[in-house]
Amino acid sequence: MAEVRLDGLIKYYDDVLAVDDVNLTIKDGDFVALLGPSGCGKTTTLNLIAGLIDLSDGEIWIGDRDVTDLDPKDRDIAMVFQNYALYPTKTVYNNLAFPLQMRKTPKNAIDERVRKTAEMLSITHLLDRLPRELSGGQQQRVALGRALVRNPRAFLMDEPLSNLDAKLRVQMRAELKRFHQTLNATMIYVTHDQLEAMTMADNIAVMSDGRVQQYGPPEEIFYDPANLFVAGFIGSPAMNFLHGEISTENGVTSVKGDPGWVYPLTPANAQKASHCTSGRIIIGARPANLILSREEHPGMIPGSVYTVEPTGDTTFVHITIGDQIYVAITDPFFRAEPDDPIWVDLEDDRIHIFDEATEEVLREDGLNSQSIHGKKTLQPA
């Protein structure tokens, strides 16, 4: 296994910029998820690492080798594809044996490796079958097996679980994590599913518009988003964003919301807001950090109930404030009628302050080490 280092990757498709200066270091033995919406450049980045498409600019290092100009076959990597890409004319056995055959492994060593891998994945009874005779879950295992059968320097996975049904996906997710832990393998895992990224990855690179927006451990991505995109993309239901203007009266800094409400900031949050250059900020609050009240209290934001969704464990309350709808998670037995008046308080030490102009998070010391404008190689914290 080896470290994978991406140095200023740029990929143009004709005039479309698909990957825009991606700098990442994936540590030896790390499980890194490239997470982002479709079209964010994550699969292109993976294909660049694999060498399947040509780079427009930048360098790729695997271990101590510069592989930028190497063929995929010489990069010593393994890859699992979303559609599995099993060789249709070969049996499961020969699918697993193919990577070893191409590397001129002696026949008895191939047999040993294939059987060991099959056993590890519990697919020994399928070895004589053709891929089309397998279920989706079995095909997925074979695809995984073809990657695990040799000892590559890194595993690349392109949404390997997205074609499975929900139950199997949860099971394979746990299994993949076990494999990673037992093999201590360097894994780069592309997904649009934040749950997969959060549950499996040691570090997540959130991508959008061909750029890495933030790179760090799942907790950091969740609790300390670097900008508005990451904050809005991670978490379900999504984070609420309240836009407003900063105003200071009698030494107290408040936010004056567009619909007219006024929300006083704590000293810590006021300190963050003081770094705002435009005078307008966005308060980001996750649904769980909204506190609802039936009665009016000073410093709370007035709204009205839009609809109530009981889910069993909790209740989602949709609230209209001005012309926006926000979501709060409350206790399971909260009930209300549409258009009931309601007041919203925020957990002040859990909210995030963003500069409306730059959409960057504002911190107390005014520094944003995770800024997307930082050109240096991002290291996971």
Binding site: P72, K73, A78, F81, Q82, A85, Y87, F98, L156
Partner: protein, 301 residues
Amino acid sequence: MASNATSVEERRERARRRKPKRQIRMSDVLAWFTLILLLLFSLVPMAWMLSTSLKTQFAALQLPPEWIPSNITFEHYIRLLSPGSEVGQEFLRYFWNSIFVSTMTTLAAVAIAVPAGYAFSKFRFPGRQGFFIAVLIRNMFPAIVFLIPLFIMMRTFGLIDTHLALIITYLTFGLPLAIWLLKGFYDNIPTELEYAARIDGASRFQAFIRIIMPLSTPGIIATAIYAFIIAWNEYVYALTFLSSRNLLTLPVGLQRFFDEFVTNWPGLMAASFVMSIPVVIIFLVLQRFFIQALTEGAVKS
């Protein structure tokens, strides 16, 4: 409600036994009628050919004709296929020439169309669209249009009265459709398969040979049949380009049965029948690939 009258068990049993009704519709009858008509249209000439080839010259000219000859004779077949007789020698010579030209055309067509189809399908290169259309445009003109230009070209290259001239010519007929057919085949093969093979340690060429080509076997076979049949049946170019008697192919060679004295109808029919045998055999053996190849592109998403 039905459940009031009978128990659920009874209704279940009845439902299980109910067979879907097969109704004969007007459109079905029309379809059968058309198919039978087409079948007769293609089979009757074949049957007559076979029947005539088994008659004597005298019986062949009899009116009304006999469908099943009363005196079956194999003399024409024996004469054609015996290397001893003069006719047999000539016929076998033509047969061999046809086999040679058709086989060479087929091999060359496959060797060119397979990589070309793959390139048009998976590679991005300047002029890709233009080249592809250019290839297809060739098929929009009747073959005869190219007779004189090709003749002049062949004469320039000194290829007149050689089999190579025919092979090259037949390639220009067969390749456009062959390339188009194979491109459709390769379009349906996911690019990830090639990717997977290259990551597993294959070069681009190895990935093509070991993974992609086996998948396109039906397409390759269909292409081969098509190229073979075009070359096997072609007449005008063979007549124009060849003059030496020992180089003639079967379609031209058969003409000789018209020439001398009076047309030997049973002999001509026997020769025609023998000529159709290789194509029929090839088609029977490989037809499932051919049908698969022609429908695959249309049906698979």
